[in-house]
Amino acid sequence: MNRVAARWPLLALAAAPLGWLLPEFYLAELSHVLVLAIAALGLTVLTGWTGQVSLGQSAFVAIGGYGHALLLAAGCPFVPALLLAAVLAALAGVAVGLPAIRISGLHLAMVTMACAIVVEHLAGRWSTVTGGHAGLPVAQVQVFGQSLARTTVFYSACVTVLALAWALLAGLLRGATGRAWRALRDAEPAARMAGVPVARYKVAAFALSAALCGLAGALMAHQLRHLTPDAFGLALAIQLLVVVFVGGLGSLGGALLGAALVGLLPQAIAELKPLLPRTLALRTGLEAFVHGAILVFFVLVEPRGLVGLRARWSARPARRRVYARTERGA
């Protein structure tokens, strides 16, 4: 575990020079994957480590995105605006997490799903602040003297945020916090007996998860350049859950792999379309279908996701991973 956690941020740093090698288009796609990965890391904390299934992460992404755009419009520089957006989203996470102490499982999935829909509605309704469905333009800003509108600069910003988030989570996972989270996921009464303050850790997981999603939302704002409520709808929340599950629930590397698979999927489908029969290729809905099919495939064939597939293919016996969910019988 230590080795893995140490290796990944290094890999991310190694990926940074790609920014000056790849063509702009692929770089933009890659940035999209990175943003998705940051939000997926947030969901990993919540669903992977504490076992709270959330279908409402898009709400936190939206709060981060709108908060960031409004702060920038008010003249706040980029980095403080980014951090404040994360704090705003974390506050929203606490607001959702506090009542969520009482509920779990399917109930929590439904409550968070309703939250996502409510936030999307509010973003559309509260048009004096959010611009409503007409949209909110995002100011183009300078970061350390470089314009964020340049693809390479934006890509570097994404890599930096992802690496920092990664290091933070890897550290937390190793320490007492990570142990407490996994304990309350696997056996809440036992964790309580062992003296874990369950409620506090659950709310903390919500706050951290929301903060990461807020960061992703803030970065996404620069990518979209024009915020509309439907960019942060239920579809995004479901997409994030798919990313986390397809990658391998609870694994940091899995979140990145899942983000790569799901984030690059639309482009891959677009590239493959000429190979398909014309009648099929011209139809809309192919993307949703493939999306669903991938999810169904992983649920039925490899519920541990891409990480599990890799472990299955590599010849060496799978390392014992402390953060993998303990198997429980029926």
Partner: protein, 290 residues
């Protein structure tokens, strides 16, 4: 006064649809202990199939209704037999994700097959109005209400008087005990899913004439969730009461509360009830199953 009466009638008939959606969800939940997130997509598929049979194929509406209900019921039955039972016993989110994936596939396949644009489905009862007391109600609402009543009564009769129905009730309470008593539990679960699919298709055919046949029809799922939670999770009478109550709340909120609250109300109710009063109106009292 006449306005209140009219609102009540409209609320009950819109609520009847939510009640039917929630009823379908409860049936599936009782069988496989998971919420079917693809239920809304079955409703949408029903509406699209109905449109396809009635408009391009020029079938009479009632024949189309029967065919659509049968087809979607078969599909739901097949889904349980082929896929859902494979994930029983795994952590709960796995089954939820499976139904989400199936929902995406259904939605994608539907818009690939029929095209994404929305369309109209004319029903035989279109555009006529009924006078009930002092209020005027669209006949569509009357039809919906009577259909919901019929389905509920038929389901109640099935569960009470048929052997299969009694076995389904037993297996909903305790699958292992039912199995030991000789009830064919896996087949009953599939049957419950088939029934749930039939109800979803019926909802689609009832909804299509009063809204548009559109891919966004699946969102009725969330209204079904709200009705389910309001009535009490896992209770069939609760699902119906919750649906009717939700319909009433929506109608009254549209008139007496500020603009826009009507759209948000179902979701706020869903959140509020689950957080404050998780058992709902008629929820199970023997502890949570979650």
């Amino acid at each position: 006064m006449a306005q209140v009466f009219q609102l009540i009638l409209q609320g009950i008939s819109v609520g009847a649809i939510y009640a039917l959606v929630a009823l379908g969800l409860v049936l599936g939940y009782k069988a496989t202990e998971t919420l079917n997130f693809a239920h809304g997509d079955l409703v949408m598929l029903g509406a699209f199939l109905g449109w396809w049979l009635v408009v391009p194929q020029a079938w009479p509406f009632w024949w189309a209704l029967v065919a659509v209900v049968a087809l979607v019921a078969l599909l739901a039955y097949g889904l349980e037999v082929q896929l859902m039972r494979r994930v029983i016993g795994q952590p709960r989110h796995v089954a939820v994700l499976l139904t989400i994936g199936l929902g995406h596939m259904l939605r994608g396949a539907t818009s690939m097959a029929f095209g994404p644009e929305s369309r109209m489905l004319e029903a035989p009862w279109q555009a006529r109005a009924l006078r009930v007391g002092g209020a005027v109600v669209a006949e569509a609402h009357g039809v919906i209400l009577s259909a919901a009543l019929l389905v509920t009564l038929a389901l109640a009769a099935l569960l009470r008087w048929s052997a299969a129905g009694r076995a389904m009730l037993a297996s909903a309470q305790n699958q292992l005990a039912a199995r030991l008593c000789g009830a064919p539990v896996p087949r009953l679960n599939a049957l419950a899913w088939g029934l749930s699919g039939a109800i979803a298709a019926l909802c689609g055919m009832l909804l299509a004439p009063i809204t548009l046949v559109d891919a966004s029809l699946w969102l009725v799922l969330v209204k079904g969730f709200a009705a389910l939670v309001l009535g009490g999770f896992g209770s069939m009478p609760g699902a119906i009461a919750g649906g009717l109550l939700l319909g009433l709340c929506e109608q009254f909120a549209g008139v007496y509360l500020p603009d826009g609250s009507r759209e948000l109300l179902p979701y706020l109710l869903l959140i509020g009830v689950l957080v404050v009063f998780p058992h709902g109106l008629l929820g199970e009292t023997h502890g949570r199953r979650l």
